[in-house]
């Protein structure tokens, strides 16, 4: 094979690709925020005294965890308009990412709450603190610390999953690279470069998470 690599289309498309990285970040961060909201809400419902509510949450979590994101995003993409909600692909993708990440977040947060011993709660109550104070001042930080590693790896995964949003043409790195690829036919060059971009993106995300952790969770544990 006498194929010579030619990165010219990639270099020409660089500004577009860099902007698209911002799109990927936006999808990832909005998706994470929505996932956290769904996660916390889900955990609260999961502990409801009403059995049907608990089952609803369990069913939701298992449904999401046992089907591919690609199928989920297609489903949501077609379902929203039928429900009378007309959204652009990008917000649709954020909703899909949030729902997907939320299901995993529910399981992770639940584990964190369970990891806090009952004694911590009781010690706070015995000191005359209210339940809300106990949760905010005593439970929250150790619980967050306990789930932080799994939460961050889940969020890195969510960041990488944004590439699947290209299937509904949301604005992010993969869909932009597909456009450059189909214009130039320099498939390998484009995708190789973009893969490197993703590597940098996930590395940056990891550094941010680690930085936050070293600031916020600096207390020693046994």
């Amino acid at each position: 094979m006498n194929y010579t690599l030619d990165f010219t289309p990639v270099i020409d498309g660089l500004p577009n690709l860099l902007w698209a990285c911002l799109g990927t970040f936006t999808l990832a961060i909005c998706g994470m925020l929505l996932a956290i909201v769904i996660g916390i809400g889900g955990v609260i419902l999961r502990q409801s005294p009403l059995k049907p509510l608990r089952w609803l949450v369990i069913g939701f979590v298992e449904l999401i965890r046992n089907t591919p994101f690609l199928v989920q995003i297609f489903f949501i993409y077609f379902a929203l308009p039928l429900a009378g909600i007309r959204l652009d692909p990008t917000p649709t993708a954020i909703i899909a990412l949030g729902i997907n990440g939320g299901a995993y977040a529910i399981e992770i947060i639940r584990g964190g709450v369970q990891s806090i011993s009952k004694g911590q709660m009781e010690a706070g109550l015995a000191l005359g603190l209210h339940k809300a104070q106990v949760f905010r001042l005593i439970i929250l930080k150790p619980a967050l610390r306990a789930i932080y590693p799994s939460l961050t790896s889940q969020f890195i995964l969510l960041t990488l999953t944004t590439s699947i949003a290209s299937a509904i043409s949301a604005y992010e790195l993969t869909s932009v690279s597909q456009r450059i690829e189909s214009d130039s036919f320099r498939s390998f060059e484009v995708y190789f470069t973009v893969t490197a971009f993703y590597l940098v993106i996930s590395w940056v995300m990891m550094r941010i998470f680690a930085l936050f952790s070293s600031r916020y969770f600096s207390y020693p544990v046994r």
Partner: protein
């Protein structure tokens, strides 16, 4: 959605299963190599495998499939989509399984290796007879968890152009204009494959937790 359309989905399902099985088996073999290299104690080998793992864990599976698909063609290997996707998923699985198994190998207490060394067992016997049997047991829940990820990951083969379950769903959906029904059925089929595995994995995890207490 009629009988014919459903049969078409089932034909796609067949390929999803085939892809999953091939990628899991080949990925396991390669993953074992990765895990052994990662714990070899040889600095340069460990660094290289760590890099290999980091690349696959730090990039989207979709990109990995693209790069393998077009990269293979570039170096002169003509393959159909099915083979290319199998190679891509195998590499992907080898990195993830390698990392899972590295963790389990390291979770086997050091005393086990030391005892085996004291009994003058060589590396192969130490690994094969002492460490790996324990490591595999430890890794089982995470391995099954990854198998579920892999089955779901095969859906990305549809974007590369291979007709497995999700792409079959796309095709049918474009024919009969009932996307919700079609993707509902497609999702249900994935669910039927993955959910038993998830339940089994959770069961094993609980069992190990209580056993180690």
């Amino acid at each position: 959605m009629g009988r014919e359309e459903f049969l078409f989905l089932l034909a796609g399902l067949k390929w999803t299963v085939a892809l999953s099985v091939v990628a899991f088996i080949c990925g396991s073999v390669a993953g074992l190599m990765v895990a052994l290299a990662r714990t070899s104690g040889i600095f340069i080998v460990e660094r290289l495998t760590a890099g290999y793992i980091a690349v696959f864990q730090g990039t989207p599976l979709l990109m990995q499939l693209f790069v393998v698909y077009y990269g293979l063609a570039l170096i002169g290997i003509q393959m159909d989509a099915w083979a290319a996707v199998s190679v891509g998923l195998t590499l992907h699985a080898s990195a993830f399984l390698g990392e899972i198994w590295r963790g389990s190998i390291e979770a086997v207490p050091r005393g086990q290796t030391e005892a085996a060394k004291a009994l003058s067992l060589g590396y192969v016997s130490r690994m094969k007879d002492v460490v790996l049997p324990q490591a595999i047991r430890i890794s089982l829940p995470a391995t099954i968890g990854f198998l579920v990820q892999l089955i779901k990951g095969t859906s990305l083969a549809s974007i590369v152009g291979f007709t497995e379950l999700t792409r079959a769903g796309n095709i049918i959906s474009n024919q009969i204009f009932q996307p919700l029904t079609v993707f509902g059925v497609v999702g249900a089929l994935y669910f039927l494959m993955c959910c038993p595995l998830t339940i089994y994995g959770a069961h094993l995890e609980r069992k190990f937790l209580t056993a180690s207490r």
